[in-house]
Symmetry: D2
Subunit: 132 residues, 4 copies
């Protein structure tokens, strides 16, 4: 299961060093995962509002190979590379004009928002099969 999500770096995404402030790479990974899940599993509004399913982060990582400048257009190649009973791992490769500028991943938990908090749950079988 994979997807390509395109982003454009804007002036406001940079900092005084003239390059993209690094937390924005994670903001973009989060968007890329939203698109990946939305197109292949269920759209976020359905998952969240109807089913009260949330995918909070367990861990995240990013390795930076080259700075991104404002007006750069970057394609994020995202893929679910691992699925366990209660987690998924999404890997992301950032490319600018074909050149890899960063790589990262997110490990997300499958959880349900309940009255008394956010509870981990087993990923439903049909979702697992969809991903595999």
């Amino acid at each position: 299961m994979n997807n390509i999500h395109q982003v454009k770096a804007y002036f406001g995404d940079t900092d005084a060093a003239g390059i993209v402030f690094y937390p924005n790479f994670y903001k973009w990974m989060d968007q890329a995962t939203t698109e990946l899940v939305g197109k292949n599993i269920l759209p976020t509004p359905v998952l969240f509002k109807e089913k009260h399913i949330l995918l909070p982060l367990i861990e995240t990582f990013c390795k930076y190979y080259s700075p991104i400048y404002f007006e750069d257009v970057v394609d994020i190649y995202s893929e679910i590379t691992k699925i366990t009973d209660r987690t998924i791992r999404v890997e992301h490769v950032f490319k600018r004009e074909g050149e890899i500028v960063a790589k990262g991943y997110e490990v997300k938990a499958w959880t349900k928002k309940k009255e008394d908090g956010i509870k981990s749950e087993s990923i439903p079988d049909k979702i697992k099969q969809l991903i595999k």
Copy 2:
């Protein structure tokens, strides 16, 4: 009803021009109003989680007199200057070492989050008296 909220501009708050990216002035106004309301009326967790009261924006404005640079420490002087049946107006003055660097305001609605959406409500009398 007023309050002073101090913020420090960090590198990540600036953009490639080397000065604070302007939406951050609004992020800081929002924090300043949270502190003002939290200290003088009710803390946000009580307002929001127990009473389901939200104060969404009707309009916002900011005038910029001087750029803010990273590592600048800025005091935001906030005051509720107007209250109507269903709205409050909060004015903010940004000062760096006594010099005014920006002025802005927020007009916020008193609303309740219900099953079918966010609904405008009259501000309770005891809140009005507290503010006046």
Copy 3:
């Protein structure tokens, strides 16, 4: 001189109230102006890196008519409505499926980044004519 810039609200653009956190409207106005100026006058990298021209804000305003939710797609209609010797005013209308959800404006100064700081300058005649 006008332009339409489309944005999509992501989960990370919202806050605990479930609606877009308002400083993001300004982040989007800034992007919309970048596109407007970039397509009709000069791209930001040329303006900024070659000519050292910056367009910092003098004042900004936004009026909110309806909340924006995650996954909403919004078109921002931007137009330069006023030009003086050293400033331009850009007006923005936010529409979701044709419905106006917000309106705002930015007044920006024409400045040059020099060794000793950011200095206001007269807008060159050919730029003025381009805009008119």
Copy 4:
């Protein structure tokens, strides 16, 4: 070499799930490192504006143990745990009322901003000794 940096989560730091949007953990790590470096080595304005030294990221990581809610106050314990010829590694532990809510790290390069780009450099000996 270590430091404690306190942050407060604001409403605008959360997303529609009611918990802090995860890229903000990195924004806070970046602030924490700025404070650590600023207090123990050199303040960012001196490093950046006078010496043109930048510390861009090579890799970053965060593991999340518990969600952070708005109004939570979090102490970030930061320490430089490794130094090589051209990089430093900063580890961060996020604690809320003594409980660990997240752990992360940043690996940063020692670079100089020159006419033709950002170039990696050996960390000066006196800085290395200061850190050790």
